[in-house]
Amino acid sequence: MEKFLSLIRRSWKIGLLILFTATGFLHAEETVEAAAATAPSHLPVDFIWLLVTGFLVFLMQAGFAMVETGLTRAKNAGNILMKNLMDFCIGSIAYFIVGYGLMYGASKAGLFGTDNFFLNKANPGSVDGLWEYASWLFQVVFAATAATIVSGAMAERTKFTAYLIYSFIISLIIYPVSGHWIWGGGWLSKLGMIDFAGSTVVHSVGGWAALVGAIILGPRSGKYNAQGKPRAIPGHNIPLAALGVFLLWFGWFGFNPGSTLKFSNVIGHIAVTTNLAAAAGALMAMFTVWIIYRKPDVSMTLNGALAGLVAITAPCSVVSPVSSLIIGGAAGILVVLSVEFIDKVLKIDDPVGAISVHAVNGAFGTLCVGLFAESRFAEAAGFSPVSGVLFGGGWHQFGVQLTGVVSVAAWVLVTVSIMFLIIKHTVGLRVSREEELKGLDIDEHGMEAYPGFQIIN
């Protein structure tokens, strides 16, 4: 019995010890009962995981900036960099003031959130209150990703002030509302839509906005000749663009695995599907251009990697590695065909391929959930055990996904059209032809990106 009692004593001590050390914030004097009651809902590993992955996603801003700068002309480099920087700065503030509350606040009819503006539910007095800060940080870098996509499609001809206004509005209202539908407990999430890391929530939103912007702006002067045939306007710094893709890929390891939103054992699986889809995307895009045009085009291959990443973003946690190869590979082919189609048939001028990468593959990836999901992965990732069409789950989930894709597209296309048209008829959306020919750096910013270098065009 003595031994027995000592055993108990020990076990009690150990329990307390671990609780104490593991959670950190509990004071030893508190009674154990109380301790159990205030047990942290968010563990240190949750904080660390969410923040570290959020930091990686932040670095995607650098990635986008480099890709977009590299794939456009030297004379507009300063301008595109400023736009990339500013959409993050303005977006951060808009998302702090209103966006986050609209997305994750208490839901009004499943349509939008209604509180937690100015992060006012966050506070330093409790773990939950502190968690709110970490959560905002993670969400703001996603909001900024959606915002920054547009700059690429509208590059080399958009007025700087117009872009600032656009940045504010998309992060303030447009992104948060559809985000609420899927991630904030809104109606699409209730329907059972799965968009794990945001093929639709983030990428399609950015992509559709990019589509509208590129259409309303019209093509860069010189992009189409009198007969409507497209001309190539090569990007001025391919190494920078490639660096950008590597940074984006790196950031995506935050984007997808971090979307568990707290520590989970599935993070490794998500990293694997993410990586394989990107690899397959680049590879298949390369082979596709190679076959069609006889040369493995570098910038298109770079787009292929991004297409794979965008497509796997929704299904990354619910599909097998082999499926991720298929999804990524298909995305790689799709992006080439889509760039072709948009450029040559629709005659929409998208200098960096943003529409094909983010809108088209965002939609494609979201639908892939309905095709490739496997219940065993879905369950491990914390979803209900859905299966896609190809794994015996029938067409229900696909229908749900399609509903999500279409309704978000509709929301963005309509609101963004209104926004851009208002901007166009007030401050103006496009620089003058003169300014465009000289380059936006000179007139908008009074500078050159590479003074001293002899550059033609």
Partner: protein, 113 residues
Amino acid sequence: MKLIVAFIQPHKLEDVKKALFKAEIHKMSVTSSLGCGQQKGFTETYRGIISEVNLLKKTRLDIAVNENFVEPTIKAIIEGARTGNIGDGKIFVTDLHEVIRIRTGERGKEAIG
């Protein structure tokens, strides 16, 4: 034969090329250059310093032509480059003593086109 050297606004290059092609002048050499002319430069602000940039980006064309093409070439350049504003550029014409096509070794009028 004459060598025509023109300094034009960089963003006018496309228009000038078009005008030259229309005038059936297909051969030329293009370099980027900095120029100082009547266009006194623009003021750039860099980090709060308003500085007079007096070496402006220009594009230089070198076009070798036979005599009968001199005026059409000049006309085409003017057509493509003129906006009526300071900075439109200048055209210089010098005598060309000889032209040799490296590929064939041909010389003179034959070689120029």
